[in-house]
């Protein structure tokens, strides 16, 4: 089942996406954020909490102060290592606890600081590379079933109940498990610490929670003879830190969108643009597949109307990811089956959109999100809408398939909801496995006309954004009907201009290694 697509339009759209992202890249290159710097600390092994349960990376940053921070946190940690011979993580803790005065390092020459950190940078990257290699080895030994890869969420708020749920889901056929974060975590400017049991609508993303889930899934992977992937969320105020933690704990995927936080969480756009870049560099190097959030356009607005925005956003997200050095194979662009069940031929519309993305982003592991908006308390009807979504996915060869829950409108999934949902996907995908291969779309038919129209309108949208500039377009409400000011929103205070001597050793290492080849 192939759509006949005008390749010239696609090429033009990609060109426009480059033009849109280019000026933002210039901003990114000259700025850093608190979270980027905290991520650097975490990569050096900084962890734990100090007074008031505040995380060490946050406390250390405070002690360094905004003036010195303009040179990058590495500058000061490096100086400490050069002076004391201690480990970078010890420096961070000592700073956090006030046992070390950063002013005393002002005189350590830049070159000494850099030299002192060099082995630690190599060590940190080596650790991540090892995790990545470990994933490769496991995947080879415990091969996954072919895509669409069935993905479910756990969200009890309690990491231990989540673990039970995740293992049960894996046994029931899940190939990817995502732990949904507690409401509000994306808006807090630090990463909580330790195992947590009290979240609302989700469970806190902490490094210990990552570890607990990874261990449980590794365990069940061995038992089932197939590797079960683990996913969490990066987008938010701590994108780079979560990317760092995920790299260290061998998560396999991360929700990571270049604009989600801005549009849907009122996070400052400059903050997000800088954060997403460094976090994606890390994702790229650690072999983590990102999942972008185009589905969010459809949960608040009409799917038919927003379809061009989804496609436009996919082009932009792709471009941002490529610029962070990510290979296509790790760019999980998002889409969702949010079509109105009352719309005649709605299924054909959804098919058009899904197939369009499939052909345009042929090498990307597309992420296909289930119906949510039109799900109601009628679980029987909901199960059917999910079935049509499952059918669309298998027909269009989506890669990452989030299983819809019949109880979507009621509660975060019960254990049995997940089992029923996986059964739904497995059944539909089995009984119609090769349907997509067995048919052709009629030229000029409903599907083809719809796809053409979406592509044309996405192009027009990209053209408008390119003319106006991305930040200005967002300010004008071009995306998701939401208006955000370039200097408004949460986390703006954590954005700063890089000083002339700014230094981020990981950025340098990853950039000079030619990330896409490292990651390839």
């Amino acid at each position: 089942m192939e759509l006949r697509i005008d390749r010239a339009i696609v090429a033009e759209a990609r060109r426009l996406a480059q033009a849109i992202v280019e000026p933002v890249s210039a901003f990114i290159a000259t700025h850093s954020t608190h979270s980027v710097e905290r991520a650097v600390l975490r990569l050096f092994g900084a962890d734990g909490v100090g007074s008031d349960e505040a995380p060490v990376p946050n406390l250390a940053l405070e002690r360094i102060g905004s003036v010195r921070l303009a040179s990058g946190v590495a500058r000061w940690i490096g100086a400490g290592v050069a002076e004391t011979g201690g480990a970078p993580s010890d420096m961070a803790r000592a700073l956090a606890e006030g046992r070390l005065d950063v002013a005393s390092f002002d005189n350590v020459p830049e070159r000494a600081a850099r030299a002192a950190l060099a082995p630690h940078v190599a060590l940190a990257l080596g650790r991540i590379a090892a995790r990545r290699e470990e994933r490769r080895e496991r995947l080879a030994r415990l091969p996954q079933s072919p895509p669409p890869l069935l993905y479910v969420i756990v969200a009890s708020g309690n990491i231990y109940e989540d673990r039970t749920a995740a293992v049960a889901a894996a046994e029931a056929g899940a190939q990817i498990v995502a732990v949904i974060r507690s409401t509000g975590q994306s808006l807090i400017d630090f990463v909580p610490f330790g195992a947590t049991t009290e979240g609302f609508g989700g469970t806190y993303a902490t490094q210990e929670n990552f570890r607990i889930m990874r261990a449980a899934l590794d365990d069940v992977s061995e038992r089932l003879g197939r590797y079960v992937m683990l996913t969490n969320y990066a987008s938010g105020l701590c994108m780079p830190e979560i990317a760092a933690m995920a790299a260290l704990e061998r998560l396999d995927m991360l929700l990571n969108d270049s604009m989600y936080g801005v549009l849907f969480r009122d996070i400052n756009m400059k903050r997000t643009f800088v954060d997403q870049h460094f976090s994606r560099m890390l994702n790229g190097f650690s072999g983590i597949i990102i999942n972008t959030g185009e589905d969010n356009y459809l949960t608040t607005a009409d799917a038919v109307e927003q379809a061009p925005a989804v496609l436009a956003s996919q082009f932009i997200n792709e471009e941002f990811a490529l610029r962070a050095g990510m290979p296509q194979a790790q760019i999980g662009l998002g889409d969702a089956y949010e079509i109105d069940p009352d719309l005649e031929d709605g299924f054909l519309f959804a098919l058009a959109q899904a197939q369009l993305a499939r052909q345009i982003f042929a090498a990307a592991p597309l992420k296909y999100m289930p119906p949510t908006k039109h799900m109601t308390g009628d679980i029987f009807k909901g199960h059917l809408i999910d079935a049509m979504f499952n059918l669309t996915s298998v027909m269009t060869g989506q890669t990452i398939h989030l299983c819809g829950m019949l109880t979507e409108a009621i509660h975060t999934p019960f254990l049995a909801d997940r089992a029923l949902s996986l059964e739904n996907a497995r059944y539909v995908m089995r009984t119609a496995r090769h349907l997509g291969d067995d048919i052709e779309l009629k030229p000029g038919g409903i599907v083809e006309r719809r796809a053409e129209r979406v592509l044309r309108e996405a192009l027009a949208l990209l053209r408008r954004v390119a003319e106006m500039g991305l930040m200005e377009s967002i300010a004008a409400g071009t995306f998701a009907d939401v208006k955000r000011a370039p200097d408004g929103g949460r986390g703006f205070e954590g954005v700063f201009a890089r000083a002339a001597d700014y230094w981020n050793p990981f950025e340098d290492a990853l950039a000079s290694a030619g990330l896409s080849s490292v990651a390839g």
Partner: protein
């Protein structure tokens, strides 16, 4: 884990999903009636997640709620008939060794019930889900009387043909027709004086071993039964008791 209680997403939460129809047009009061009804059943945290008219005078509801009820597993005395671990050859060998003659088996779908697929699955050579039927066993002589066999005919046949085990099937259960027919059969065998020397087995999608024993049967087999499970039971009974 004992006592056990339904599990939603947290141990002990008691979560249950219910759906039902009330003979009412939908209104907010109908939603509230649904809520109260479920609360009156003893559930707590009753959430009516769906309520709507499905026809004039009828509304349909989907409800999630918590039950405080639990059951004590230790008190559940279900002897599993279905775990035996014997192969066809072993079962034949058991009969040869311990009974010393071929066992005569008669099966039928009784009353007006014409659903023979189930009893055929147990009896026919071919069997069910890769498990051979009783006809294939060397030590069973099988008579499959087919469908819509009256209990009188079946009892007569058993008497006249020195049947060791009767296998009666009932698939239609509407208005308790299965219970009526099963009961009639066992009473008739009793009256005919052959109940004692006949192993009496009931089967069908709604049958359980517990229900069968309540009906005075020696055993009952429900959905998903494999022929070998029935064969093993017959062979074991005859090798133990007779």
């Amino acid at each position: 884990m004992n006592p056990v209680r339904p599990y939603g997403d947290t141990l002990g939460d008691g979560k249950v999903q219910l759906s039902f129809t009330l003979p009412l047009d939908w209104s907010e009061a109908a939603d509230e009636a649904a809520r109260q009804l479920v609360a009156k059943m003893g559930f707590t945290e009753v959430a009516v997640s769906e309520g709507r008219s499905i026809a004039s005078g009828f509304s349909f509801f989907v409800v999630y709620a918590s039950t405080p009820v639990s059951v004590d597993l230790a008190a559940i005395a279900v002897t599993s008939l279905r775990t035996h671990g014997l192969s066809m050859d072993e079962i034949d060998a058991l009969v040869r060794a311990r009974v010393g003659r071929k066992l005569r088996i008669a099966g039928a779908c009784i009353g007006t019930d014409a659903h023979t697929v189930g009893i055929d699955a147990i009896l026919n050579m071919k069997g069910y889900k890769g498990d051979y039927g009783l006809e294939r066993y060397k030590e069973f002589v099988v008579f499959n009387l087919g469908s819509q066999v009256s209990v009188e005919d079946l009892a007569r046949f058993a008497k006249e043909n020195a049947i060791d085990a009767i296998l009666a099937s009932q698939v239609v259960t509407q208005k308790g027709s299965d219970i009526q027919n099963f009961t009639a059969l066992s009473e008739l065998l009793e009256a005919d004086g052959i109940r004692d020397r006949t192993l009496l087995i009931a089967g069908g999608p709604r049958m359980t071993n517990l229900l069968a024993s309540e009906l005075g049967y020696d055993a009952g087999f429900g959905r998903g039964t494999l022929p070998s499970e029935v064969a093993a039971f017959i062979a074991q009974r005859f090798s133990e008791h007779r």
